[in-house]
Assembly symmetry: D2
Homo-oligomer: 144 residues x 4
Amino acid sequence: MEARLTTREEIAEFLVTAFPQTMCQVVEAANGASVVSREISRADLRPGGTVSGPVLMAVADVALYVATLSVIGIVPLTVTTSLNINFLRKPSSEARILGKCRLIKVGKALAVGEVALYSEDGPEMVAHAVGTYSIPPRRQAGEP
Amino acid sequence: MEARLTTREEIAEFLVTAFPQTMCQVVEAANGASVVSREISRADLRPGGTVSGPVLMAVADVALYVATLSVIGIVPLTVTTSLNINFLRKPSSEARILGKCRLIKVGKALAVGEVALYSEDGPEMVAHAVGTYSIPPRRQAGEP
Amino acid sequence: MEARLTTREEIAEFLVTAFPQTMCQVVEAANGASVVSREISRADLRPGGTVSGPVLMAVADVALYVATLSVIGIVPLTVTTSLNINFLRKPSSEARILGKCRLIKVGKALAVGEVALYSEDGPEMVAHAVGTYSIPPRRQAGEP
Amino acid sequence: MEARLTTREEIAEFLVTAFPQTMCQVVEAANGASVVSREISRADLRPGGTVSGPVLMAVADVALYVATLSVIGIVPLTVTTSLNINFLRKPSSEARILGKCRLIKVGKALAVGEVALYSEDGPEMVAHAVGTYSIPPRRQAGEP
Protein backbone atom coordinates (compact mmCIF):
# COMPACT_ATOMS: atom_id res chain seq x y z
CA MET A 1 0.00 0.00 0.00
CA GLU A 2 2.88 2.35 0.69
CA ALA A 3 4.25 1.53 -2.70
CA ARG A 4 1.98 4.03 -4.43
CA LEU A 5 1.48 7.63 -3.55
CA THR A 6 -1.28 8.71 -1.25
CA THR A 7 -3.10 11.58 -2.90
CA ARG A 8 -4.39 14.81 -1.46
CA GLU A 9 -7.92 13.64 -2.24
CA GLU A 10 -7.49 10.42 -0.26
CA ILE A 11 -6.12 12.26 2.75
CA ALA A 12 -8.86 14.89 2.57
CA GLU A 13 -11.52 12.20 2.41
CA PHE A 14 -9.97 10.30 5.32
CA LEU A 15 -9.81 13.47 7.41
CA VAL A 16 -13.50 14.23 6.89
CA THR A 17 -14.46 10.66 7.80
CA ALA A 18 -12.17 10.19 10.79
CA PHE A 19 -12.37 13.73 12.19
CA PRO A 20 -15.84 14.93 11.11
CA GLN A 21 -15.57 17.86 13.52
CA THR A 22 -12.32 19.21 12.05
CA MET A 23 -12.62 22.61 10.47
CA CYS A 24 -9.42 22.20 8.47
CA GLN A 25 -9.30 21.60 4.75
CA VAL A 26 -6.47 19.90 2.92
CA VAL A 27 -5.17 22.26 0.23
CA GLU A 28 -1.99 20.37 -0.66
CA ALA A 29 -0.41 17.11 0.46
CA ALA A 30 2.53 15.41 -1.21
CA ASN A 31 6.03 14.16 -0.43
CA GLY A 32 6.06 15.13 3.21
CA ALA A 33 4.70 18.62 2.72
CA SER A 34 1.20 19.97 3.23
CA VAL A 35 -0.94 23.08 3.21
CA VAL A 36 -4.14 23.14 5.25
CA SER A 37 -6.57 26.00 5.70
CA ARG A 38 -9.19 26.82 8.28
CA GLU A 39 -12.08 29.27 8.21
CA ILE A 40 -12.19 31.67 11.15
CA SER A 41 -15.50 32.51 12.77
CA ARG A 42 -16.46 34.67 15.73
CA ALA A 43 -16.16 31.65 18.03
CA ASP A 44 -12.45 31.40 17.25
CA LEU A 45 -11.58 34.87 18.43
CA ARG A 46 -10.27 35.95 21.80
CA PRO A 47 -10.25 39.35 23.53
CA GLY A 48 -8.42 41.82 21.33
CA GLY A 49 -10.10 40.44 18.20
CA THR A 50 -7.39 37.95 17.39
CA VAL A 51 -7.51 34.23 16.65
CA SER A 52 -7.13 32.18 19.83
CA GLY A 53 -4.01 30.12 20.42
CA PRO A 54 -5.73 26.71 20.43
CA VAL A 55 -7.09 27.34 16.93
CA LEU A 56 -3.56 27.89 15.64
CA MET A 57 -2.31 24.82 17.52
CA ALA A 58 -5.05 22.71 15.94
CA VAL A 59 -4.13 23.89 12.43
CA ALA A 60 -0.45 23.10 13.10
CA ASP A 61 -1.37 19.65 14.38
CA VAL A 62 -3.50 18.83 11.33
CA ALA A 63 -0.85 20.14 8.93
CA LEU A 64 1.72 17.81 10.54
CA TYR A 65 -0.70 14.87 10.39
CA VAL A 66 -1.50 15.46 6.72
CA ALA A 67 2.17 15.81 5.77
CA THR A 68 2.97 12.59 7.62
CA LEU A 69 0.15 10.68 5.95
CA SER A 70 1.40 11.89 2.57
CA VAL A 71 4.54 9.85 3.19
CA ILE A 72 3.37 6.82 5.18
CA GLY A 73 -0.13 6.43 3.75
CA ILE A 74 -3.41 6.41 5.67
CA VAL A 75 -2.36 5.19 9.13
CA PRO A 76 -5.09 6.46 11.44
CA LEU A 77 -3.31 5.60 14.69
CA THR A 78 -0.39 7.87 13.94
CA VAL A 79 -0.50 10.25 16.93
CA THR A 80 1.19 13.46 18.03
CA THR A 81 3.85 12.94 20.67
CA SER A 82 4.97 16.55 21.07
CA LEU A 83 4.26 20.00 19.74
CA ASN A 84 6.12 23.25 20.30
CA ILE A 85 4.55 26.47 19.07
CA ASN A 86 5.67 30.11 19.11
CA PHE A 87 3.08 32.82 18.55
CA LEU A 88 4.68 35.63 16.57
CA ARG A 89 2.10 38.16 15.43
CA LYS A 90 -1.59 38.88 15.85
CA PRO A 91 -3.50 36.96 13.18
CA SER A 92 -6.23 38.69 11.23
CA SER A 93 -9.73 38.07 12.52
CA GLU A 94 -11.09 38.19 8.99
CA ALA A 95 -8.97 35.77 7.03
CA ARG A 96 -8.49 32.04 6.95
CA ILE A 97 -5.50 30.57 8.73
CA LEU A 98 -3.08 28.64 6.52
CA GLY A 99 -0.67 26.04 7.92
CA LYS A 100 2.26 25.10 5.69
CA CYS A 101 4.14 22.04 6.85
CA ARG A 102 7.27 20.29 5.69
CA LEU A 103 8.66 17.21 7.37
CA ILE A 104 12.32 17.31 8.33
CA LYS A 105 12.57 13.65 9.30
CA VAL A 106 10.53 10.54 8.60
CA GLY A 107 11.94 7.60 10.51
CA LYS A 108 10.50 4.20 11.21
CA ALA A 109 8.90 5.28 14.46
CA LEU A 110 8.80 9.08 14.38
CA ALA A 111 8.12 11.87 11.93
CA VAL A 112 9.24 15.42 12.76
CA GLY A 113 8.06 18.50 10.91
CA GLU A 114 7.77 22.22 11.09
CA VAL A 115 4.76 24.36 10.31
CA ALA A 116 4.59 28.01 9.32
CA LEU A 117 1.19 29.57 10.03
CA TYR A 118 -0.19 32.58 8.18
CA SER A 119 -3.31 34.66 7.90
CA GLU A 120 -4.37 34.19 4.30
CA ASP A 121 -4.46 37.95 3.71
CA GLY A 122 -0.94 38.73 4.93
CA PRO A 123 2.66 37.88 4.10
CA GLU A 124 4.02 37.50 7.62
CA MET A 125 4.16 34.32 9.66
CA VAL A 126 1.76 34.55 12.62
CA ALA A 127 3.02 31.44 14.39
CA HIS A 128 5.60 28.69 13.96
CA ALA A 129 5.36 25.13 15.24
CA VAL A 130 7.53 22.03 15.38
CA GLY A 131 5.94 18.71 16.14
CA THR A 132 6.59 15.01 16.34
CA TYR A 133 4.26 12.24 15.26
CA SER A 134 4.63 8.65 16.41
CA ILE A 135 4.15 6.11 13.65
CA PRO A 136 2.68 2.79 14.84
CA PRO A 137 4.59 -0.41 13.96
CA ARG A 138 2.08 -1.81 11.53
CA ARG A 139 4.32 -3.62 9.06
CA GLN A 140 5.32 -7.10 9.98
CA ALA A 141 7.41 -8.82 7.38
CA GLY A 142 10.91 -7.92 6.37
CA GLU A 143 11.25 -4.83 8.52
CA PRO A 144 14.68 -4.18 9.98
CA MET B 1 -6.38 46.56 41.45
CA GLU B 2 -3.55 44.07 41.90
CA ALA B 3 -3.50 44.91 45.54
CA ARG B 4 -6.35 42.55 46.34
CA LEU B 5 -6.65 38.96 45.32
CA THR B 6 -8.50 37.96 42.21
CA THR B 7 -10.87 35.16 43.12
CA ARG B 8 -11.68 31.97 41.31
CA GLU B 9 -15.23 33.26 40.84
CA GLU B 10 -14.05 36.45 39.14
CA ILE B 11 -11.79 34.56 36.77
CA ALA B 12 -14.50 32.01 35.98
CA GLU B 13 -16.97 34.79 35.24
CA PHE B 14 -14.46 36.61 33.05
CA LEU B 15 -13.70 33.45 31.12
CA VAL B 16 -17.37 32.80 30.35
CA THR B 17 -17.84 36.38 29.18
CA ALA B 18 -14.65 36.76 27.15
CA PHE B 19 -14.47 33.22 25.75
CA PRO B 20 -18.13 32.13 25.55
CA GLN B 21 -17.12 29.18 23.38
CA THR B 22 -14.63 27.74 25.86
CA MET B 23 -15.56 24.37 27.23
CA CYS B 24 -13.22 24.68 30.22
CA GLN B 25 -14.37 25.31 33.76
CA VAL B 26 -12.29 26.92 36.46
CA VAL B 27 -12.08 24.55 39.42
CA GLU B 28 -9.34 26.35 41.35
CA ALA B 29 -7.36 29.55 40.86
CA ALA B 30 -5.12 31.17 43.43
CA ASN B 31 -1.55 32.30 43.89
CA GLY B 32 -0.29 31.31 40.48
CA ALA B 33 -1.84 27.86 40.48
CA SER B 34 -4.99 26.62 38.79
CA VAL B 35 -7.10 23.58 38.06
CA VAL B 36 -9.40 23.60 35.05
CA SER B 37 -11.62 20.82 33.78
CA ARG B 38 -13.23 20.08 30.44
CA GLU B 39 -16.02 17.70 29.51
CA ILE B 40 -15.20 15.28 26.69
CA SER B 41 -17.78 14.52 24.03
CA ARG B 42 -17.74 12.39 20.92
CA ALA B 43 -16.58 15.37 18.86
CA ASP B 44 -13.36 15.52 20.87
CA LEU B 45 -12.22 12.01 20.05
CA ARG B 46 -9.88 10.88 17.31
CA PRO B 47 -9.36 7.46 15.68
CA GLY B 48 -8.48 4.96 18.38
CA GLY B 49 -11.08 6.41 20.74
CA THR B 50 -8.75 8.83 22.45
CA VAL B 51 -9.00 12.55 23.11
CA SER B 52 -7.48 14.57 20.28
CA GLY B 53 -4.29 16.53 20.80
CA PRO B 54 -5.79 19.99 20.21
CA VAL B 55 -8.29 19.42 23.04
CA LEU B 56 -5.43 18.77 25.46
CA MET B 57 -3.53 21.79 24.14
CA ALA B 58 -6.58 23.99 24.69
CA VAL B 59 -6.95 22.81 28.29
CA ALA B 60 -3.25 23.49 28.92
CA ASP B 61 -3.57 26.95 27.44
CA VAL B 62 -6.59 27.86 29.56
CA ALA B 63 -4.96 26.49 32.73
CA LEU B 64 -1.93 28.72 32.11
CA TYR B 65 -4.15 31.74 31.44
CA VAL B 66 -6.19 31.19 34.60
CA ALA B 67 -3.07 30.72 36.75
CA THR B 68 -1.58 33.91 35.31
CA LEU B 69 -4.76 35.93 35.92
CA SER B 70 -4.78 34.67 39.52
CA VAL B 71 -1.55 36.63 40.02
CA ILE B 72 -1.86 39.68 37.78
CA GLY B 73 -5.63 40.18 37.91
CA ILE B 74 -8.05 40.29 34.99
CA VAL B 75 -5.86 41.47 32.11
CA PRO B 76 -7.67 40.28 28.99
CA LEU B 77 -4.85 41.06 26.55
CA THR B 78 -2.42 38.70 28.24
CA VAL B 79 -1.59 36.31 25.38
CA THR B 80 0.28 33.05 24.90
CA THR B 81 3.70 33.46 23.35
CA SER B 82 4.78 29.83 23.34
CA LEU B 83 3.54 26.41 24.34
CA ASN B 84 5.39 23.09 24.44
CA ILE B 85 3.39 19.93 25.03
CA ASN B 86 4.35 16.27 25.35
CA PHE B 87 1.64 13.63 24.98
CA LEU B 88 2.38 10.78 27.37
CA ARG B 89 -0.52 8.34 27.56
CA LYS B 90 -3.85 7.73 25.86
CA PRO B 91 -6.50 9.71 27.74
CA SER B 92 -9.79 8.09 28.62
CA SER B 93 -12.63 8.79 26.21
CA GLU B 94 -15.10 8.73 29.06
CA ALA B 95 -13.71 11.11 31.65
CA ARG B 96 -13.18 14.81 31.89
CA ILE B 97 -9.71 16.20 31.27
CA LEU B 98 -8.15 18.07 34.18
CA GLY B 99 -5.33 20.57 33.74
CA LYS B 100 -3.31 21.45 36.83
CA CYS B 101 -1.05 24.45 36.40
CA ARG B 102 1.55 26.12 38.56
CA LEU B 103 3.52 29.13 37.47
CA ILE B 104 7.29 28.91 37.83
CA LYS B 105 7.95 32.55 37.04
CA VAL B 106 5.90 35.72 37.00
CA GLY B 107 7.98 38.60 35.72
CA LYS B 108 6.95 42.04 34.58
CA ALA B 109 6.55 41.01 30.96
CA LEU B 110 6.31 37.21 30.98
CA ALA B 111 4.73 34.45 33.04
CA VAL B 112 5.96 30.87 32.63
CA GLY B 113 4.13 27.84 33.94
CA GLU B 114 3.82 24.13 33.67
CA VAL B 115 0.64 22.09 33.34
CA ALA B 116 0.03 18.44 34.19
CA LEU B 117 -2.96 16.98 32.35
CA TYR B 118 -4.99 14.02 33.61
CA SER B 119 -8.07 12.03 32.77
CA GLU B 120 -10.28 12.56 35.80
CA ASP B 121 -10.67 8.80 36.30
CA GLY B 122 -6.98 7.92 36.36
CA PRO B 123 -3.87 8.66 38.38
CA GLU B 124 -1.37 8.98 35.54
CA MET B 125 -0.45 12.14 33.70
CA VAL B 126 -1.69 11.98 30.09
CA ALA B 127 0.20 15.04 28.88
CA HIS B 128 2.54 17.72 30.19
CA ALA B 129 2.87 21.27 28.91
CA VAL B 130 5.04 24.30 29.54
CA GLY B 131 3.92 27.67 28.29
CA THR B 132 4.72 31.35 28.35
CA TYR B 133 2.25 34.20 28.57
CA SER B 134 3.11 37.76 27.64
CA ILE B 135 1.77 40.33 30.09
CA PRO B 136 0.92 43.67 28.47
CA PRO B 137 2.53 46.80 29.96
CA ARG B 138 -0.58 48.32 31.47
CA ARG B 139 0.87 50.06 34.52
CA GLN B 140 2.24 53.51 34.00
CA ALA B 141 3.67 54.96 37.14
CA GLY B 142 6.97 53.95 38.61
CA GLU B 143 7.75 51.33 36.03
CA PRO B 144 11.32 51.15 34.82
CA MET C 1 20.11 -7.13 34.50
CA GLU C 2 17.12 -4.83 34.80
CA ALA C 3 15.88 -6.99 37.59
CA ARG C 4 18.07 -5.33 40.18
CA LEU C 5 18.39 -1.66 40.85
CA THR C 6 21.07 0.42 39.24
CA THR C 7 22.75 2.42 41.97
CA ARG C 8 23.87 6.03 42.00
CA GLU C 9 27.47 4.77 42.26
CA GLU C 10 27.16 2.65 39.12
CA ILE C 11 25.69 5.51 37.13
CA ALA C 12 28.32 7.96 38.42
CA GLU C 13 31.10 5.55 37.47
CA PHE C 14 29.59 4.96 34.02
CA LEU C 15 29.29 8.71 33.42
CA VAL C 16 32.93 9.34 34.25
CA THR C 17 34.04 6.51 31.95
CA ALA C 18 31.76 7.23 29.02
CA PHE C 19 31.79 11.04 29.21
CA PRO C 20 35.20 11.85 30.71
CA GLN C 21 34.77 15.50 29.74
CA THR C 22 31.48 15.96 31.58
CA MET C 23 31.65 18.40 34.45
CA CYS C 24 28.48 17.06 36.07
CA GLN C 25 28.44 14.97 39.21
CA VAL C 26 25.69 12.55 40.14
CA VAL C 27 24.32 13.50 43.56
CA GLU C 28 21.24 11.29 43.55
CA ALA C 29 19.78 8.72 41.15
CA ALA C 30 16.94 6.36 41.92
CA ASN C 31 13.49 5.39 40.66
CA GLY C 32 13.40 7.78 37.76
CA ALA C 33 14.60 10.81 39.68
CA SER C 34 18.01 12.40 39.81
CA VAL C 35 20.02 15.31 41.14
CA VAL C 36 23.18 16.36 39.34
CA SER C 37 25.51 19.25 40.15
CA ARG C 38 28.07 21.16 38.16
CA GLU C 39 30.83 23.50 39.28
CA ILE C 40 30.82 26.90 37.60
CA SER C 41 34.08 28.49 36.49
CA ARG C 42 34.92 31.71 34.72
CA ALA C 43 34.74 29.91 31.36
CA ASP C 44 31.04 29.19 31.94
CA LEU C 45 30.00 32.80 32.30
CA ARG C 46 28.62 35.12 29.66
CA PRO C 47 28.43 38.94 29.48
CA GLY C 48 26.51 40.17 32.51
CA GLY C 49 28.30 37.71 34.78
CA THR C 50 25.71 34.98 34.48
CA VAL C 51 25.99 31.30 33.62
CA SER C 52 25.66 30.75 29.87
CA GLY C 53 22.63 28.99 28.43
CA PRO C 54 24.49 25.97 27.02
CA VAL C 55 25.85 25.14 30.48
CA LEU C 56 22.31 24.96 31.85
CA MET C 57 21.19 22.89 28.86
CA ALA C 58 24.01 20.44 29.44
CA VAL C 59 23.09 20.02 33.11
CA ALA C 60 19.45 19.41 32.14
CA ASP C 61 20.50 16.85 29.55
CA VAL C 62 22.69 14.94 31.99
CA ALA C 63 20.01 15.00 34.71
CA LEU C 64 17.53 13.44 32.26
CA TYR C 65 20.07 10.82 31.19
CA VAL C 66 20.88 9.87 34.77
CA ALA C 67 17.22 9.64 35.76
CA THR C 68 16.54 7.44 32.74
CA LEU C 69 19.47 5.12 33.49
CA SER C 70 18.19 4.79 37.07
CA VAL C 71 15.14 3.05 35.61
CA ILE C 72 16.42 1.17 32.56
CA GLY C 73 19.95 0.38 33.73
CA ILE C 74 23.22 1.30 32.01
CA VAL C 75 22.19 1.57 28.36
CA PRO C 76 24.83 3.82 26.80
CA LEU C 77 23.05 4.31 23.47
CA THR C 78 20.05 5.93 25.06
CA VAL C 79 20.02 9.33 23.32
CA THR C 80 18.20 12.63 23.63
CA THR C 81 15.51 13.14 21.00
CA SER C 82 14.24 16.53 22.12
CA LEU C 83 14.81 19.15 24.77
CA ASN C 84 12.80 22.26 25.60
CA ILE C 85 14.25 24.74 28.06
CA ASN C 86 12.97 28.01 29.52
CA PHE C 87 15.44 30.36 31.17
CA LEU C 88 13.74 32.02 34.12
CA ARG C 89 16.22 33.95 36.24
CA LYS C 90 19.88 34.95 36.18
CA PRO C 91 21.89 32.19 37.85
CA SER C 92 24.55 33.05 40.37
CA SER C 93 28.08 33.18 38.97
CA GLU C 94 29.46 31.89 42.25
CA ALA C 95 27.46 28.77 43.01
CA ARG C 96 27.16 25.35 41.53
CA ILE C 97 24.19 24.61 39.27
CA LEU C 98 21.89 21.83 40.45
CA GLY C 99 19.59 19.94 38.10
CA LYS C 100 16.72 18.03 39.69
CA CYS C 101 14.96 15.64 37.34
CA ARG C 102 11.91 13.44 37.63
CA LEU C 103 10.65 11.29 34.81
CA ILE C 104 6.97 11.62 33.96
CA LYS C 105 6.89 8.68 31.56
CA VAL C 106 9.07 5.66 30.93
CA GLY C 107 7.76 3.70 27.97
CA LYS C 108 9.38 0.96 25.94
CA ALA C 109 10.88 3.36 23.43
CA LEU C 110 10.80 6.79 25.07
CA ALA C 111 11.39 8.36 28.47
CA VAL C 112 10.10 11.87 29.18
CA GLY C 113 11.17 13.95 32.14
CA GLU C 114 11.28 17.42 33.54
CA VAL C 115 14.21 19.18 35.15
CA ALA C 116 14.23 22.10 37.57
CA LEU C 117 17.55 23.96 37.61
CA TYR C 118 18.81 25.99 40.57
CA SER C 119 21.85 27.89 41.70
CA GLU C 120 22.96 26.03 44.80
CA ASP C 121 22.88 29.20 46.88
CA GLY C 122 19.33 30.27 46.06
CA PRO C 123 15.78 29.01 46.43
CA GLU C 124 14.40 30.04 43.06
CA MET C 125 14.39 28.00 39.88
CA VAL C 126 16.74 29.53 37.31
CA ALA C 127 15.60 27.38 34.39
CA HIS C 128 13.16 24.59 33.62
CA ALA C 129 13.54 21.89 30.98
CA VAL C 130 11.50 19.04 29.55
CA GLY C 131 13.22 16.40 27.50
CA THR C 132 12.73 13.10 25.76
CA TYR C 133 15.20 10.23 25.61
CA SER C 134 14.98 7.42 23.08
CA ILE C 135 15.62 3.98 24.56
CA PRO C 136 17.22 1.53 22.12
CA PRO C 137 15.47 -1.83 21.59
CA ARG C 138 18.07 -4.03 23.26
CA ARG C 139 15.94 -6.75 24.87
CA GLN C 140 15.05 -9.66 22.71
CA ALA C 141 13.17 -12.36 24.53
CA GLY C 142 9.78 -12.14 26.08
CA GLU C 143 9.22 -8.46 25.49
CA PRO C 144 5.71 -7.42 24.64
CA MET D 1 24.29 52.70 16.14
CA GLU D 2 21.52 50.57 14.70
CA ALA D 3 21.37 52.86 11.76
CA ARG D 4 24.29 51.17 10.04
CA LEU D 5 24.73 47.49 9.47
CA THR D 6 26.63 45.35 11.91
CA THR D 7 29.09 43.29 9.92
CA ARG D 8 30.04 39.66 10.26
CA GLU D 9 33.54 40.79 11.26
CA GLU D 10 32.24 42.94 14.11
CA ILE D 11 30.07 40.14 15.46
CA ALA D 12 32.90 37.60 15.15
CA GLU D 13 35.25 39.93 17.00
CA PHE D 14 32.69 40.58 19.74
CA LEU D 15 32.08 36.86 20.16
CA VAL D 16 35.78 36.10 20.63
CA THR D 17 36.11 38.89 23.18
CA ALA D 18 32.93 38.28 25.16
CA PHE D 19 32.91 34.47 24.95
CA PRO D 20 36.61 33.54 24.72
CA GLN D 21 35.74 29.92 25.46
CA THR D 22 33.29 29.55 22.58
CA MET D 23 34.36 27.07 19.95
CA CYS D 24 31.99 28.50 17.35
CA GLN D 25 33.08 30.59 14.41
CA VAL D 26 30.90 33.08 12.59
CA VAL D 27 30.76 32.16 8.90
CA GLU D 28 27.93 34.47 7.87
CA ALA D 29 25.82 37.09 9.64
CA ALA D 30 23.49 39.52 7.93
CA ASN D 31 19.86 40.62 7.94
CA GLY D 32 18.68 38.23 10.62
CA ALA D 33 20.38 35.16 9.22
CA SER D 34 23.59 33.46 10.27
CA VAL D 35 25.85 30.50 9.70
CA VAL D 36 28.16 29.37 12.47
CA SER D 37 30.53 26.39 12.49
CA ARG D 38 32.20 24.42 15.23
CA GLU D 39 35.11 21.99 15.14
CA ILE D 40 34.41 18.59 16.69
CA SER D 41 37.03 16.91 18.83
CA ARG D 42 37.11 13.68 20.78
CA ALA D 43 35.84 15.51 23.87
CA ASP D 44 32.59 16.33 22.06
CA LEU D 45 31.62 12.74 21.35
CA ARG D 46 29.34 10.47 23.33
CA PRO D 47 28.99 6.67 23.41
CA GLY D 48 28.18 5.48 19.91
CA GLY D 49 30.73 7.88 18.38
CA THR D 50 28.28 10.69 17.80
CA VAL D 51 28.35 14.36 18.74
CA SER D 52 26.79 14.95 22.14
CA GLY D 53 23.49 16.81 22.45
CA PRO D 54 24.85 19.78 24.42
CA VAL D 55 27.35 20.55 21.65
CA LEU D 56 24.50 20.83 19.15
CA MET D 57 22.48 22.96 21.58
CA ALA D 58 25.42 25.32 22.03
CA VAL D 59 25.81 25.75 18.27
CA ALA D 60 22.08 26.46 17.93
CA ASP D 61 22.25 29.01 20.73
CA VAL D 62 25.21 30.84 19.20
CA ALA D 63 23.63 30.83 15.73
CA LEU D 64 20.51 32.49 17.19
CA TYR D 65 22.59 35.05 19.07
CA VAL D 66 24.63 35.94 15.98
CA ALA D 67 21.53 36.27 13.80
CA THR D 68 19.92 38.50 16.43
CA LEU D 69 23.00 40.73 16.73
CA SER D 70 23.04 41.08 12.94
CA VAL D 71 19.74 42.93 13.27
CA ILE D 72 19.94 44.78 16.57
CA GLY D 73 23.69 45.46 16.70
CA ILE D 74 26.13 44.45 19.43
CA VAL D 75 23.90 44.23 22.51
CA PRO D 76 25.78 41.92 24.88
CA LEU D 77 22.96 41.51 27.38
CA THR D 78 20.61 39.96 24.84
CA VAL D 79 19.90 36.57 26.45
CA THR D 80 18.19 33.33 25.51
CA THR D 81 14.76 32.93 27.07
CA SER D 82 13.84 29.56 25.56
CA LEU D 83 15.21 26.91 23.25
CA ASN D 84 13.52 23.87 21.76
CA ILE D 85 15.64 21.32 19.93
CA ASN D 86 14.84 18.09 18.11
CA PHE D 87 17.65 15.64 17.39
CA LEU D 88 17.02 14.02 14.03
CA ARG D 89 20.03 11.99 12.88
CA LYS D 90 23.40 10.90 14.19
CA PRO D 91 25.96 13.58 13.34
CA SER D 92 29.30 12.62 11.88
CA SER D 93 32.12 12.39 14.41
CA GLU D 94 34.58 13.63 11.82
CA ALA D 95 33.07 16.79 10.45
CA ARG D 96 32.36 20.24 11.75
CA ILE D 97 28.84 21.09 12.84
CA LEU D 98 27.16 23.93 10.95
CA GLY D 99 24.24 25.89 12.38
CA LYS D 100 22.17 27.88 9.90
CA CYS D 101 19.77 30.32 11.51
CA ARG D 102 17.07 32.62 10.21
CA LEU D 103 14.99 34.84 12.42
CA ILE D 104 11.24 34.62 11.96
CA LYS D 105 10.42 37.57 14.20
CA VAL D 106 12.35 40.52 15.56
CA GLY D 107 10.16 42.53 17.91
CA LYS D 108 11.06 45.24 20.37
CA ALA D 109 11.54 42.82 23.24
CA LEU D 110 11.93 39.37 21.64
CA ALA D 111 13.60 37.77 18.65
CA VAL D 112 12.53 34.31 17.52
CA GLY D 113 14.47 32.18 15.10
CA GLU D 114 14.95 28.69 13.81
CA VAL D 115 18.20 26.85 13.29
CA ALA D 116 18.96 23.91 11.02
CA LEU D 117 22.04 21.95 12.11
CA TYR D 118 24.18 19.87 9.76
CA SER D 119 27.36 17.86 9.73
CA GLU D 120 29.54 19.68 7.22
CA ASP D 121 30.09 16.49 5.22
CA GLY D 122 26.43 15.54 4.76
CA PRO D 123 23.27 16.92 3.20
CA GLU D 124 20.77 15.93 5.88
CA MET D 125 19.72 18.01 8.86
CA VAL D 126 21.01 16.41 12.09
CA ALA D 127 18.99 18.61 14.44
CA HIS D 128 16.52 21.48 14.35
CA ALA D 129 16.05 24.17 16.97
CA VAL D 130 13.75 27.09 17.62
CA GLY D 131 14.74 29.69 20.17
CA THR D 132 13.78 33.02 21.63
CA TYR D 133 16.12 35.80 22.63
CA SER D 134 15.14 38.63 24.94
CA ILE D 135 16.34 42.04 23.79
CA PRO D 136 17.09 44.45 26.66
CA PRO D 137 15.39 47.85 26.57
CA ARG D 138 18.49 49.94 25.92
CA ARG D 139 17.11 52.72 23.76
CA GLN D 140 15.68 55.66 25.59
CA ALA D 141 14.40 58.28 23.24
CA GLY D 142 11.23 57.97 21.25
CA GLU D 143 10.42 54.47 22.34
CA PRO D 144 6.78 53.72 22.99
